[in-house]
């Protein structure tokens, strides 16, 4: 030690207010360098890969389906949250655990400010890692040609959730400076996520929509991010909720006597109350959410501009001479759709009411089973409208029990077309309509014998219960199908209007 060679630097100048950001930046830099969060990131990365990314690649290459697994159900949050809470608790308990509480308290800077710097570094690492992981995942999706647009609002929800986990974990560690704080916080985070998921499965509406792993609302079998924007209503409510929790937790760390002066502690109390209020208001908002055709709408947050459809230039092909146009997000399936429609369009070619073109329309959210009719025919001239978002598209399908075969998809499209063509609507239709539908499907390559099973497996219409292709309906269908093509066309041309109006009976069949 050198007493004479270097005297300590003495400063007696008043602290300049402008120096505060610089000091905070230097504290943050040191905390970022020496934070424990990077040590746990390889584990989170592995979990993210195996739990969030890989399962999603088993679904159709559309953002709305790929991200249903990992963002809609909150898997990315589950992968991060418990670990972030644990590491944050480790950092929050650091001063107490390391026996530095007295030393830190004896410094001029309010302890709360120092703690916030430690927390901020922890949160920055966690959020940055989350954004990098999700960014890499989206880049891989883009490389794989995934259609649609990423659910940025749901990324924001997850970022806020990660921040909330870090804040709650940090506060827990600050109040309980023990080596056990980290594992207990991690376990608590995991249990909270498990409870959130279970509640989400049971409660598709009401306050439970605020829970970050509740997937009801903007995901699955719909065209969010393809035909219309991802609705921000529910994400905004969840961000309010999670941010409120984060703010309240951080406010709590500023309440103890050693955290700072009276002014600062009052501010911490106000911050805590504001956080609780934000979370409470968000729960109230979510309770008023209702399912619209485009997703979950919260009246107090809803902006009508969000209902405006996304403009796009369709990709088109031809099936039996009829133009077929799809949203570019579905470009890869255009040959499948053309191939599916060609036989049934050929069957009805030249008949009145035959569609002059086929176009894809947006699928709609529905709280009821079955939902709206997936294929409709109408207008002057008639146009076939298909909501492909309601179908399991050919290829990988995460929730279908295996990949969807092209024929399986084609049969569903043909069934939807036949139901629309005979005017059966969203129900099974009358006996005569069922008979004509069966004959059309037979002509399009779907034998009578397999039709009951096909209709039973359809998720886009009630259809008859599975059973043998027998009875008066199939007898009439067989009679119609055995007619020469010209005679069948002539009969259909003469009776199509009455058939669609539901005025024909089996007795009127040839």
């Amino acid at each position: 030690m050198t007493a004479a060679t270097a005297a300590p630097v003495r400063h007696r100048t008043p602290r300049a207010t402008s120096a505060i950001p610089l000091t905070a930046a230097r504290l943050l830099r040191t905390e970022l360098r020496r934070n424990a969060m990077p040590w746990i990131l390889p584990l989170i990365a592995a979990l993210f890969w195996f739990d969030s990314y890989r399962p999603s690649t088993g679904t159709a290459p559309l953002y709305v389906l790929r991200t249903f697994w990992n963002m809609g159900q909150g898997d990315t949050i589950v992968d991060f949250g418990p670990f972030v809470a644990g590491v944050a608790a480790w950092m929050g308990s650091r001063d107490g655990r390391r026996g530095l509480a007295d030393l830190v308290t004896a410094t001029a800077r309010p302890r709360w400010a120092a703690q916030l710097a430690t927390w901020a570094a922890t949160a920055i690492w966690a959020v940055a890692a989350y954004l990098v992981f999700v960014g890499v995942m989206f880049a891989m999706y883009a490389h794989q040609g995934v259609g649609g647009t990423p659910p940025w609002w749901w990324v924001a929800v997850a970022v806020t959730a990660v921040t909330a986990f870090s804040a709650v974990g940090f506060a827990f560690g600050a109040y309980w400076p023990s080596r056990f704080a980290a594992p207990v916080a991690a376990l608590g985070g995991f249990l909270a996520m498990a409870m959130s998921s279970q509640t989400g499965f049971r409660s598709p509406t009401g306050w439970a929509l605020i829970l970050p792993t509740n997937s009801n609302g903007n995901f699955d079998e719909t065209d969010s991010g393809i035909f219309y924007p991802w609705l921000p209503d529910l994400p905004i409510a969840r961000i309010m909720f999670l941010a409120g929790i984060a703010v309240a937790a951080l406010g709590l760390t500023g309440l103890p006597g050693r955290a700072g002066g009276p002014w600062l502690r009052r501010a911490a109390a106000v911050v805590t109350v504001a956080g609780v209020a934000s979370a409470g208001i968000a729960v109230g908002l979510a309770s008023n959410a209702r399912l619209s055709a485009h997703g979950m709408v919260i009246p107090a947050l809803h902006d009508a501009a969000d209902d405006a459809p996304i403009t796009y230039t369709p990709v088109c092909g031809r099936a039996a001479g009829v133009p077929v146009c799809l949203n570019p997000a579905y470009r890869r399936w255009l040959p499948d759709v053309n191939g599916a429609l060609a036989p049934v369009l050929a069957e009805v070619a030249g008949l009145p009411g035959t569609p002059v073109r086929a176009t894809q329309v947006a699928a709609a959210y529905s709280s009821s089973a079955g939902g709206p009719q997936a294929v409709t025919l109408g207008g002057h001239p008639p146009v076939l409208r298909m909501s492909l978002g309601s179908f399991d598209m050919p290829g990988p399908c995460g929730f279908c029990g295996g990949p969807v075969a092209t024929k399986q998809f084609a049969d569903q499209i043909r069934l939807g077309f036949a139901q629309a063509f005979v005017g059966a609507g969203n129900g099974p239709g009358g006996p005569a309509q069922q008979a004509v539908q069966a004959a059309l499907l037979q002509g399009a390559g779907i034998p009578f014998a397999v039709q009951p099973a096909l209709m039973a497996s359809s998720k886009n219409g009630p259809g008859p219960p599975p059973g043998p292709a027998t009875g008066p309906v199939y007898a009439a269908a067989r009679r119609l199908a055995t007619l020469p093509a010209a005679a069948r066309h002539a009969w259909l041309a003469a009776h199509l209007a009455a058939l669609r109006a539901g005025r024909l009976t089996l007795k009127d069949m040839p």
């Binding site: 030690m1 050198t2 007493a3 004479a4 060679t5 270097a6 005297a7 300590p8 630097v9 003495r10 400063h11 100048t13 602290r15 300049a16 120096a19 610089l22 000091t23 230097r26 504290l27 040191t30 360098r33 020496r34 424990a36 650091r94 001063d95 390391r98 026996g99 530095l100 007295d102 030393l103 830190v104 308290t105 004896a106 410094t107 001029a108 800077r109 120092a114 050693r258 700072g260 002066g261 009276p262 002014w263």
Partner: protein
């Protein structure tokens, strides 16, 4: 007087750690001696403004630490080395000292030079970039001293500062103490009476929460002369004699 204490007490439940201590100290090195449990650490923690007194009057650097504003001003001018110094194992020695310089609200522009100077003063320059987890106990103690002096404190409180230092470092540290005592009030709590003899201009001896002796090291030595008190050195004999006298007086009372 940088330290002005009148009838200060501190209780922990039924235990009275500090019982009516009065003390004044100006610039110089002030030694605080006493056996284990005498109340030295509690007194130092009160002077470090981390432990509020139960009763009594405490003024530091002319300010009342009971109010937040003055307390913060005191803390800006305070250096404190606790008895059981913790550390952040992932920090380097320089980062550790810089961290506390920033917490002491030093002007950011002065921090790098102050950190380098403090580390040099404790002869830790060659280990400035070493992680604290890799340092020996003595080196950690020196890093702790560096953080205490980095802001050029007007009031420096050191609780067992030489614990873990090797003899060579202790000699150097005493020289540093004498130098710091030229312009600041340095209060050193220690068991090691030779530290007091070598560095302190004034000494107080505590026992059972009270100050039982206050004077110069020479006066303490004088109290031991001819008493037959135990001890290898004159200061130790003075220390033993004062304690024995205090305890016998307490027993008679």
């Amino acid at each position: 007087m940088n330290v002005d204490i009148t009838d200060l007490t501190r209780r922990f439940g039924r235990t009275q750690a500090v019982a009516g201590v009065s003390l004044q100290a100006g610039a110089g090195v002030f030694g605080l001696l006493g056996p284990n449990g005498a109340g030295k650490t509690s007194l130092l923690r009160m002077m470090a403004t981390v432990l509020p007194p139960t009763s009594g009057r405490l003024r530091l650097l002319g300010r009342d630490p009971g109010s937040y504003g003055p307390r913060r001003e005191i803390r800006r001018r305070l250096g404190y080395l606790p008895q059981n110094l913790g550390y952040y194992p992932g920090f380097t020695a320089a980062e550790f000292v810089e961290y506390f310089a920033l917490l002491k609200e030093m002007p950011p522009g002065q921090v790098p030079r102050a950190v380098a100077a403090a580390i040099e003063q404790v002869s830790l320059s060659d280990k400035a970039r070493a992680k604290l987890r890799t340092l020996s106990g003595g080196m950690l103690r020196r890093a702790g001293i560096a953080q205490a002096i980095v802001n050029g404190p007007e009031l420096l409180l050191l609780d067992e500062p030489t614990a873990g230092l090797d003899p060579e470092q202790r000699v150097a540290f005493r020289a540093l103490l004498r130098d710091l005592g030229q312009r600041a009030t340095v209060i050193v709590s220690t068991h090691l009476v030779e530290d007091v003899g070598a560095a302190c201009t004034e000494v107080a001896l505590m026992d059972a929460g009270k100050i039982v002796f206050q004077g110069t090291p020479d006066e303490l030595i004088a109290r031991g002369e001819g008493t037959g008190a135990a001890g290898d050195a004159p200061l130790e004999r003075g220390y033993s004699a004062v304690l024995a006298a205090s305890r016998s007086a307490t027993a008679v009372a």
